[in-house]
Each structure stands twice: as structure tokens, then as C-alpha cells.
């Protein structure tokens, strides 16, 4: 397309190319009926999208249409409806594959990201021996910690951890000094984006280190795929886990992507219907990937809903969404930074950082206000945030706090909502500080 204007003149530097049309957040919000509701007398300000995203009407409609007009079991039902359901389900697999730069045979449907990570741990674990090492990081969600702890207990392998730096990034220097990734390393499993700190981890670099010693790289992309353009080839992972409900899709459907050669060499995880080739009383042989890993009736309607979510995100464009979220991250960090008594956990600048921001809040006399109290006060003003340890207790221990509050933005978040959140924080702080 011809473009005679010089974008560099008078324009501030951008991380992502500007999109052709301005990001129309009001038009997007109109697709999410829940965003118009009130909480008591207050308009809803939903800042908990890192927990679960809201759903556009298109996703809810796709699920309803599936159930009302095409419902049948997949693969095993041979009638017309069975054919339609199978086509819809496999069609959703194609959409997800396209969305992450993969082919459909590499995309496994699970019930959530936790199951995807457990699948990875169980199947990769079949090859582990005592003395082997598994490397994860201190900033992981429990779902990328506990499956590996269990695996280490089962196999006698040793679990080792990336630490973080003072500003909340993976400490690659310390890892190198400590020989964290070495010839005994068999598996490296890290988050792409931290659900607490918002840090975007250098997954490709870590994958390079791991591959040099022959280790398999697992990436928990639950907070990555919903927010950033994803190309599994560029990321460098061998297995990638994420979930539908954080990317506008329904709950009950997660995903595991794996390079085909790796998947083809992994044993089954759960046994049951549809994952087999031939079952005899003397033993069974198993289907090829991805169906080898999909025992039992899969989440059919949920996959269809996720397909609609992928269509919705793609129509807006993940580059545009990432650029918009970068703006929101800057705005959120700025607004939070302006509230006295706030300590932001993780990077305070919007560099290699997503739009989920965790923080602690203290009164003017230095008393920490517990995140449950913060959350409750904000909720009383219609502002939904998460308070607690966000399924990342080791990280909170590492940071020396028992819990934190987290505000997280998505494509439908507005600056006005972030302002309402900031005002509500001032109110909480004054209340607990005795200014009433």
C-alpha cells in the first residue's frame, strides 16, 4: 500500500507499528454485554482479566448455536449432526493452530492450562531418571510448579529454580553463574508472561540455552497468547500450554501445542475413548497426535466457542491488541505509581511487561492494608481486582509479602476505568489510615 508520509517525523517511537484504524475501544465494549452492568449503584470496572476474561456476544452465540443446532458427539457419531459437530470441533482446532503459527495435528485440546501442563509433565516424565534435572522459575503459577514437584518425587529427578532480579525479571546472570542449565537438565518449564509481575520472559533465549544441552522446553503461555501475537516457531518452545477462558473463550477448554515429532514420541497421558487405535484384552495401541492425548469426549462446545474467540481477536488483530495493552500498561503503572503507599511488584516501566500489575498498599502511618480488604473496598465501588497470592505463593515468599492485589487490563479496558480504580484506592487508603 502506497504511503508517502514519513512516520518518523514528529511521531513518538512505538514498539509496534501503528494500526490503520484507531483502536475503537467503545465499539469493542459494545460486544461485551457484561461491561454495561452495575455492581450495586456503581458501574462495573472489570480489572481482573488475568484471572478470566469477559466474553463477547459472538462467543456466547457460537456456543448457543452449536448446542441448539449442531449438537452431537464428535468423531464417533456417524450421522449428519455428528459430522457437523466434528467439523466444528476440528475447525476450531484449525483456527487455534493458525492463531499460533502451528498446524492442527500439533494442537491438543485439554480442559485447561493446568491439565496441559500435567500432560506435559507426565508424558515427558516417562523418560526421567534419578539425577536428571528439571528447571522452573520462582515466578511460576502453581500450575507450572506442582506438576513438576510431583514428577520430581516420582522419578527422583531434581527440581531447580530460576531466581528473579530486584525489578522482577528472571535472573539469567545468576542462572549462568550457578550452572542452572547444564548437561543434567532434561526439562525447562517457564512462563512466557508472569501472572503476578507482568514480566515478559525472554523465552526464546532460554529455549536456546535449554536446547544447547538437549533439554525439552515447556512454556506456560496462559498470560501470553491472549495478549501478544504468537508464533510457536519464533518462541522456540517444544510444548506450549494455554487456556481458552483468558482469551475471550469459555471455561473448560485448554490447549497444549507441541512440535509434531515430539508429540509423536510421547506416551499417552489419560487412557480412554478416542485416544486408541486398537484395544484388545492383551493390550492396546494408540492413536496419532493430537487424538492420542484426548481421551474421552472432548470439550466440544467450548472448543467451538474458543474458535469464535480466536476469530474475534484475529479480526481486531493481535498486533493492535498488544499495542493497545502497552498503552494501558503505561497508564495503569502511572496511575498506580501516583497513589501514595503503593508498592508495585515487578517492573515499574512498561518495557517487556504486560498489563497485569500487582501491588501492595500501605496507609500513611505505614500499616499494610491486606489485599482482601483492598479487594472488598474496591468491590463495594464496583471495581473488580484480585487479592491474594494469585496461585504464586513461592513468588510472594520471595518478594517478602504474604499476598498482593492485582489489577489487569485487556482490550476492552478504558483509561476512565483505571482512573476509577485509582480513586477507589485513595478511598481505601484514607479509610484504613483513619482519614474518614
Amino acid at each position: 500500500m502506497p504511503d508517502s508520509t514519513d512516520r518518523s517525523v514528529g511521531a513518538s517511537p512505538r514498539l509496534v507499528e501503528p494500526v490503520e484504524t484507531p483502536f475503537d475501544v467503545e465499539r469493542i465494549r459494545a460486544d461485551f454485554p457484561i461491561l454495561t452492568r452495575r455492581v450495586g449503584e456503581w458501574p462495573l470496572v472489570y480489572l481482573d482479566s488475568a484471572n478470566t476474561s469477559q466474553k463477547p456476544r459472538a462467543v456466547v452465540d457460537a456456543i448457543a448455536t452449536h448446542y441448539l443446532e449442531h449438537n452431537a458427539n464428535v468423531a464417533r457419531a456417524m450421522h449428519t449432526l455428528g459430522g457437523e459437530a466434528t467439523e466444528a470441533f476440528e475447525g476450531a482446532r484449525n483456527k487455534v493452530a493458525n492463531f499460533i503459527g502451528a498446524v492442527p495435528e500439533e494442537v491438543v485440546f485439554t480442559k485447561n492450562a493446568s491439565e496441559a501442563l500435567n500432560l506435559a509433565a507426565h508424558t515427558l516424565g516417562a523418560r526421567l531418571q534419578p539425577g536428571d534435572e528439571i528447571v522452573i522459575s520462582v515466578l511460576e503459577h502453581h500450575s507450572n510448579i506442582v506438576p513438576w514437584q510431583l514428577l520430581a518425587e516420582r522419578t527422583g529427578a531434581k527440581l531447580r529454580w530460576f531466581d528473579i532480579t530486584a525489578d522482577g525479571r528472571l535472573d539469567l546472570e545468576a542462572a549462568e553463574t550457578d550452572g542452572l542449565i547444564n548437561e543434567r537438565t532434561r526439562i525447562v518449564s517457564v512462563a512466557w508472561v508472569s501472572n503476578v509481575l507482568g514480566t515478559i520472559n525472554p523465552v526464546r533465549q532460554i529455549a536456546g540455552l535449554a536446547h544447547r544441552v538437549g533439554a525439552t522446553v515447556v512454556v506456560d503461555a496462559s498470560q501470553g497468547v491472549p495478549h501478544l501475537p504468537t508464533d510457536v516457531g519464533v518462541l522456540g518452545a517444544d510444548l506450549l500450554a494455554f487456556t481458552g477462558h483468558k482469551m475471550l473463550g469459555p471455561t473448560g477448554v485448554g490447549l497444549l501445542w507441541g512440535s509434531y515429532d515430539l508429540l509423536a514420541n510421547l506416551p499417552p497421558f489419560l487412557g480412554g475413548g478416542e485416544m486408541i487405535e486398537i484395544v484388545r484384552m492383551t493390550g492396546s495401541t494408540f492413536a496419532k497426535p493430537p487424538h492420542r492425548f484426548e481421551a474421552g469426549t472432548p470439550p466440544i462446545a467450548q472448543a467451538v466457542g474458543l474458535g469464535a474467540a480466536v476469530d474475534y481477536l484475529s479480526a481486531i488483530g493481535m498486533d493492535a491488541i498488544a499495542a493497545r495493552e502497552h498503552q494501558l500498561a503505561e497508564y495503569l503503572l502511572g496511575r498506580l505509581g501516583a497513589v501514595e503507599g503503593v508498592r508495585i511488584l515487578g517492573p515499574t516501566e512498561a518495557i517487556d511487561r504486560g498489563a497485569a500489575v500487582s501491588f501492595t498498599l500501605a496507609t500513611s502511618d505505614g500499616m499494610e492494608i491486606h489485599p482482601h480488604d483492598v479487594m472488598q473496598f474496591l468491590d463495594a465501588r464496583g471495581v473488580a481486582v484480585r487479592g491474594g497470592h494469585h496461585c504464586a505463593r513461592p513468588l510472594h515468599d520471595r518478594l517478602g509479602v504474604t499476598a498482593s492485589s492485582r489489577a489487569s487490563a485487556y482490550l476492552y479496558t478504558t483509561e476512565a476505568e483505571i482512573d476509577a480504580f485509582g480513586d477507589a484506592l485513595d478511598y481505601v487508603r484514607n479509610f484504613f489510615g483513619g482519614v474518614r
Partner: protein, 145 residues
């Protein structure tokens, strides 16, 4: 739900700190938020002579524990456990119960919390720890008797 009474207890917790002697010590946690209380119970026969504790957590869990110690210290085990019963019933009433202020005293302030199911567990944390520790203390003294 944040009544003055709750904030007062939160800012100046009664009977806080771990003390000797005691027959049983327990640690109870609220896994969703990391609220924690370590609590000791001292009995003399069937009387609660001391409840001491150390805790971290939200205003509701900490204030509720403080209020609980005011109520149970000096009572018989049977009286204290009956109060536990009553408080638990109030917290599970979704705010619809008319609590007996003569019996529950400051603890009636938590009726507002009962309307928030996610926070009921916070209010019960210290009480549950007390019940657990008391049962263990009774078992210990039974063995010694």
C-alpha cells in the same frame, strides 16, 4: 461490613503474641490468600485459661481472632465451644440471623461479613484454630490424667 469494632481490633489485637504454658498449638491457613494463624490453647481442667496467637492476614481474620480470645478466655471449654457454634452459625446465615449481642458481644460486628461468602472463611479462621487446638489440648490432658 467494616465496622469500627473490627478496625479497632485489627489495629490493636487483644491477647496477641505466643505465650507459655499451653497444651496444644495449631497453625491454620486460608489457602486462597495466605492468611495464617498460629494459635495456642492453655486449659486448667475444663477451663480455658489462655489463648495466645500470632497471625498475618486481612482485617477480618485478624480482628475475628482478637474478638474470639476476649470471648473464650476464662470460660469453660463447653461454654467456649458453644460460642464457636453460635458464631459459626451466624457466619453461615448469609447475614439473615439476629445475633445475640449479650452472648457474642463484639463478635456481632461480623454479621455484615456473613453476606460475603468469600470472606466467611476469613472470619472463621481463628475460631476454627481455637476449636482444633482445644480438641488437641483435651486429648493431651486426658492422656495425662
Amino acid at each position: 461490613m467494616y465496622q469500627e469494632i473490627i478496625l479497632d481490633h485489627y489495629k490493636a489485637k487483644h491477647h496477641s503474641g505466643l505465650r507459655e504454658p499451653y497444651q496444644a498449638q495449631v497453625t491454620h491457613v486460608n489457602p486462597t490468600c495466605g492468611d495464617e494463624v498460629m494459635l495456642r490453647v492453655a486449659l486448667d481442667g475444663d477451663r480455658v485459661t489462655d489463648v495466645s496467637y500470632e497471625g498475618v492476614g486481612c482485617s477480618i481474620s485478624q480482628a475475628s481472632t482478637s474478638v474470639m480470645t476476649d470471648l473464650v478466655i476464662g470460660r469453660t471449654v463447653a461454654e467456649a465451644l458453644a460460642l464457636h457454634e453460635e458464631f459459626t452459625e451466624m457466619m453461615h446465615s448469609q447475614g439473615r440471623m439476629e445475633p445475640d449481642e449479650d452472648r457474642l458481644e463484639d463478635a456481632v460486628a461480623f454479621i455484615g461479613v456473613a453476606q460475603f461468602p468469600a470472606r466467611v472463611k476469613c472470619a472463621l479462621l481463628g475460631w476454627s484454630a481455637f476449636k482444633d487446638a482445644t480438641a488437641q489440648a483435651l486429648a493431651t490432658t486426658d492422656r495425662e490424667a
